[in-house]
Amino acid sequence: MLTFTLRRLLLAIPTLLFISLVIFLLVDLAPGSPLSEIPLTVPPEVRQKMIEAMGADQPVLVRYLLWLRQFFWVEPATLIDGWFGTSLAGGEQRILSWQTRSPVFTMIGQRIPQTLTVVGTAYLLGVLIALPIGIYSAYRQYSWFDQAGTLFAMIGFSVPTFFTGTLLIIIFAVWLPWFPTKYDTNLTVTDWQSFVQQVRQMALPVLTLALANAAAISRYMRSSMLDNMGQDYVRTARAKGMSERTVVLKHVLRNSLIPVVTVIALGIPAIFGGAIITENLFGVNGIGAALILAIHASDLPTVQTLAFIFAVLIVLFNLIADILYGLLDPRIRYD
């Protein structure tokens, strides 16, 4: 197991390097770079200074390596400095946003709690909805509940989140004024009243994301349960005279959860991608909204960094899913 984990960790490095190169080159070599957007009224020597100040006059390879160094060394070092008061980074240049001239990671640090609150709650809620639906659908296969679950999953797959989101806004915020349409980022929870307000403004974005996730996960849960229901050990458990409850919820469920847990882990990066839409629709001030803002402002360092963070999340959770699978299921030890 350890060698497997190490091997996978080593394999992740070239993958990440490849992705970082793709992202960097794509953004860097594209024709619509912000250098072409400096107004023509700016005198040439000032233009030259601006380009130098942005560091855009260096060769591509130099800028790529510099960016990698900033991402993998300077930024973590600064973070550790901030925590323990050391001086590892030694005041080196951090990745600066072209919009605000402040470090990109400071901005990400400010925004990530917003994303995590909404996305995290949504994913948790989605899983909590999906598991019982999946379990009961499998237990009563082809019953009306199962049919309804199938329909629910099909609709959940097919209706894009931006439309469920708008529908929810129209119904629950415009027609029935139960929830606010926009998410207020400045709200801090101090007492019961502000807590209720926070819950109310989170309700719609969380529900939107949770429904989309619940659809997929409930299907995996169902098919995994069905796979296990017909196994010999289930018959043995029943023959021993165990209660139906113990058989289903202890024996079958435990074994069925193994693949579902990995699916849940694999879905986490995707939900950050999906959150881009929800954040924009509801005005949640998270990293997805930051990405769109940076794209519209041609803020290349922010775009590169955010896109690469999404990639790191994907690689990381693929790794976690693989390792979890090996840990949970002794039959699938890779070595």
């Binding site: 024709p31 619509g32 097919s158 415009v174 896109a307 990639a311 994907i314």
Partner: protein, 302 residues
């Protein structure tokens, strides 16, 4: 539509597939809905010709509700919503189908090369894995943002946007098809008939086109159907974030994006395009489901 799909073979097989397909209620519903939608966007504009309004007249009929004159009302510039829905649908469906074809073409090529030629397998599959790890939505947004103006400059804003988006979606969604095809080809190349073909000296190209490709058509078709749904959703996400098609050359996603500002007053302007997208994707997904059952000889029970 469906019974002609699996290659020119004796009619009986198409018949069997169609019979199995028909037993899947959802798939039949999907096929009917999709046909209706295609009729709506293809025949619709021929039948429904909105009156040509001058600007002054158009300004008077802004933001109208449904009426006989404008069955779905008009938008903030006095344009007939029904006509715009048809136009937008044509572009949305075209994007879905063409992007899917690009993805399937690239995916099948890479899958066959990786499955048939051993030395290529490792590098090509590693490449596929790396593509799978790319954050697609952010990347597509960046692609569109960076290349939109340049391509619009050389191809015109409408064709430019279309080519860019179709191409971008196509080259970022071939990975599933490649994996499926590679798996199938790996199994097929060990079969006796392929060995026989090789032993009489058939060139790899002939073996691939004559013996292997016809046998991977079923899974590829299922992947293609689901790919259409995926591409339509991806395009509408781009449009929804304001990085898709220009407003005078709309897709359903773009109409929805435009309608968002007026959502509180005229919710139907968001509802119609959203419903159209959802119905299309739902129909296509059901068709894919039915096809999977119909094309699998074990389920077909012959």
């Amino acid at each position: 539509m469906t019974d002609a799909a699996p290659a020119p073979r004796p009619r009986s097989q198409g018949r069997a597939i169609w019979d199995q397909f028909r037993t899947h209620k959802g798939a039949l519903f999907g096929l009917i809905v999709l046909c209706l939608l295609v009729l709506f966007v293809v025949i619709g504009p021929l039948v429904w010709q909105p009156e040509k309004l001058r600007v002054a007249e158009a300004l008077k009929v802004r933001n109208l509700g449904p009426s006989w004159r404008f069955p779905l009302g008009t938008d903030q510039l006095g344009r007939d919503m029904l006509y715009r829905m048809m136009q937008a649908g044509k572009v949305s469906l075209a994007v879905g189908f063409i992007a899917m074809m690009i993805a399937i073409f690239v995916g099948t090529t890479i899958g066959v090369l990786a499955g048939y030629f051993r030395p290529l397998d490792g590098p090509l599959m590693r490449l596929t894995d790396m593509f799978l790890a790319l954050p697609l939505v952010p990347l597509l947004l960046v692609l569109v943002m960076l290349f939109r103006d340049r391509i619009a400059g050389s191809l015109g804003p409408e064709t430019g946007a279309f080519v860019l988006i179709v191409f971008a979606i196509g080259i970022t969604s071939w990975m599933q098809a490649a994996r499926i095809v590679r798996g199938e080809v790996l199994a097929l190349r060990e079969r006796e008939y392929v060995l026989a073909a090789r032993s009489i000296g058939a060139a790899p190209r002939r073996i691939i086109f004559r013996h292997i490709l016809p046998n991977v058509i079923s899974p590829v078709m299922v992947a293609a159907t689901l790919g259409v749904a995926e591409a339509i959703i991806t395009e509408s996400v781009l449009s929804f974030l304001g990085l898709g098609f220009p407003p005078d050359f709309p897709t359903w996603g773009r109409l929805l994006y435009d309608g968002l500002q007026y959502m509180q007053l005229y919710p139907e302007r968001v509802l119609w395009p959203g419903l159209a997208i959802s119905l299309t994707v739902l129909a296509v997904n059901y068709i894919g489901d039915g096809l999977r059952d119909a094309l699998d000889p074990r389920i077909r029970g012959r």
